[in-house]
Symmetry: C2
Subunit: 366 residues, 2 copies
């Protein structure tokens, strides 16, 4: 493929500087979800870590580089998850972290940013205004601006999820099964570490079929370009599908029109992916790695959140249900296939969650 800004060797190296608490996250088939979706579904769970989202993978890369040779002060704009993750990663390395967020951001996210000791500045506007303000602070104070999705560390940190997906897929392949059963040797496999890991497990009798599509929440684009880059490089047969809310469609529209399209406003409950102004360099990368970008209704996101609660026991934030929403809106497309959805965050306000998922809280079993 044509070259994205990302580099697979750097992504492999990123795993060595990311705190292991963010790595090797669960990937498991969730059969209880499947009757309602009509396809095999595996969950890549990015919420069981100290910041309850995948963003720690990227901020660990950012903060470890800064701790080595960068300035000790850093500022970012965030809908909440990046800020929380940067606060966590920065705290451990003695960095001075400032987060700029919309005053309409999810309160639970803002509370955690404060609790982690970061400075928090609220702007009276949306995420794009927070981005402008963060850039102004960086210029004025001469400190490092971390720009989500533009800064390669944020993309390449997120891309380590892709490495884990590819490795798991290798393990599930029939030839890997044969290797495990002693029917062949390991020399055909690409990666020494993969071989060692495969050899370690004598058998794997309950495999899912190798997945053939990955559904990725599309916000600024770090997660989609990161995971997409790795999949296109190492597992090009896997379909990379980005999912964005209908009420925040700027990057999806940009992808379809192959040029930056902005919107005047956003209207979605999926606060984590509600941008209006796509970054040109990120769009260029996305054009190289995404096979499709689709828009889903908030009602489908809510249905997805409800299914994840009911059948997987997972409380998730709206952006983490985008993948399930995409299946619900286009069952025919996925029928009979094996789809991975990245459950990317669980930072949600309890009151809002209850309002969305149902006044009665946990809905009745279906």
């Amino acid at each position: 493929m044509q070259q994205t800004r990302l580099d697979t060797a750097r992504i492999r190296a990123a795993r060595r500087v990311i705190d292991p608490v963010f790595l090797g996250t669960p990937l498991y088939r969730c059969e209880a979800l499947e009757p309602g979706l009509g396809c095999a579904v595996s969950i890549k769970l990015e919420t069981a870590n100290p910041v309850r989202s995948f963003k720690g993978r990227g901020t660990e890369v950012v903060a470890s580089l800064l701790a080595e040779h960068g300035p000790r002060a850093v500022v970012c704009a965030s809908a909440g998850n990046l800020g929380q993750a940067l606060a966590w990663s920065g705290r451990g390395r003695g960095l001075d972290v400032t987060v700029v967020a919309s005053r309409f951001a999810t309160a639970a996210k803002l509370d955690r940013i404060r609790a982690l000791g970061a400075g928090l500045e609220l702007v009276d506007g949306d995420h794009e205004l927070a981005r402008e303000r963060a850039a102004a602070i960086a210029r004025y104070d001469g400190i490092r601006l971390v720009e989500d999705s533009l800064d390669l560390e944020t993309c390449e940190g997120a891309a380590t999820i892709g490495l884990e997906l590819v490795e798991a897929r290798e393990r599930a392949k029939p030839e890997a099964q044969a290797i495990r059963a002693g029917l062949t040797d390991l020399t055909d496999l690409t990666d020494q570490a993969d071989q060692a890991e495969l050899a370690e497990h004598a058998e794997l009798p309950n495999p899912a079929p190798p997945f053939d599509a990955v559904l990725i929440a599309l916000g600024g684009g770090a997660l989609a370009t990161g995971v997409g880059h790795v999949l296109k490089a190492l597992a090009p047969g896997v379909e990379v599908i980005c999912v964005q809310p209908l009420g925040a469609p700027a990057l999806t529209r940009s992808w379809h029109e192959r040029r930056v399209v902005t919107t005047d406003s956003t209207d979605t409950i999926a606060d984590g992916v509600a941008g209006r102004c796509p970054i040109p360099a990120v769009l260029d990368d996305l054009l190289l790695v995404a096979d499709d970008a689709v828009l889903v209704r908030d009602s489908s996101i809510i249905a997805g959140m409800r299914m994840l609660l009911d059948h997987a026991g997972l409380v998730v934030e709206p952006s983490a249900a985008l993948g399930i929403a995409a299946i619900l809106e286009d069952r025919d497309r996925f029928a009979g296939r094996h789809v991975v959805t990245i459950v990317c965050g669980s930072n949600v306000d309890g009151d809002a969650y209850r309002r969305w998922v149902g006044a009665a809280g946990l809905p009745h079993r279906v």
Copy 2:
């Protein structure tokens, strides 16, 4: 220490036959829980897998041995989690699995056992009657009876959690930090694999202090004797605390009196740990590895479930909240310490969960 029935080398070997989907589960500090508990708390999350409990670790060992040389038919009594896990592990290996359960068992658990293709027989009584019936089926049909906690595979499978805890604790030690920083070499460490893993990570700047206590749900005893054995063998300074509901206190009372004590009935919402008739051999092991066994009220279990939902975003079944309940009931004991609690299952009926955690579902943020 005196010898339990368990063997550390066999526990290490068990990791090679357990499907990796059950291994290397998240262990992470959950700071949002800490203001309410007064101590550092880390969660070992055993719910993000195809059966939503830790039981798959044991049933993978059981089923892989049976697939190699045992009978192809197997029966177990279960409150639901063991049966679901055995159904999963057996399905992958072509085993014929029968599960005997109380007709009062959690419906969500019974539904999943059926969905996984196991035969399900319900008895009109409690878990002890199910145990008797399973034993009778095994005798009559000449098939293998899997007895949870008595069969070493169930204990040694669960014990692999202990290996993961010990390895994480080694990584968090100041000397490991020093190694990572290049201040010393790796030769003092016990295990080659640990050394390699430590060397892989250049830095780990956000460590929790090494934990000094582990809270373990006590039911039949497989989890407690398994994890306890490994901790006492490899990290003897860590306090091993078993937690059981006041309404199902048989094994805890037995531990305190150092003889088997049975009860006539149980009365607790924690269905997964509600036994009445402790197994003598399991008690003997527990006497060797547990530092304490405590009883907690169901109201504390519910408060723990609510805290895990509110502050960790985790839906758990009652037995998985026993550890948090123990902290809530004895804050002074844990003040200022770092405690690991094993979140051992999330198979819960939605209606019951809503009833316990609050009619309004997700409670308001505090």
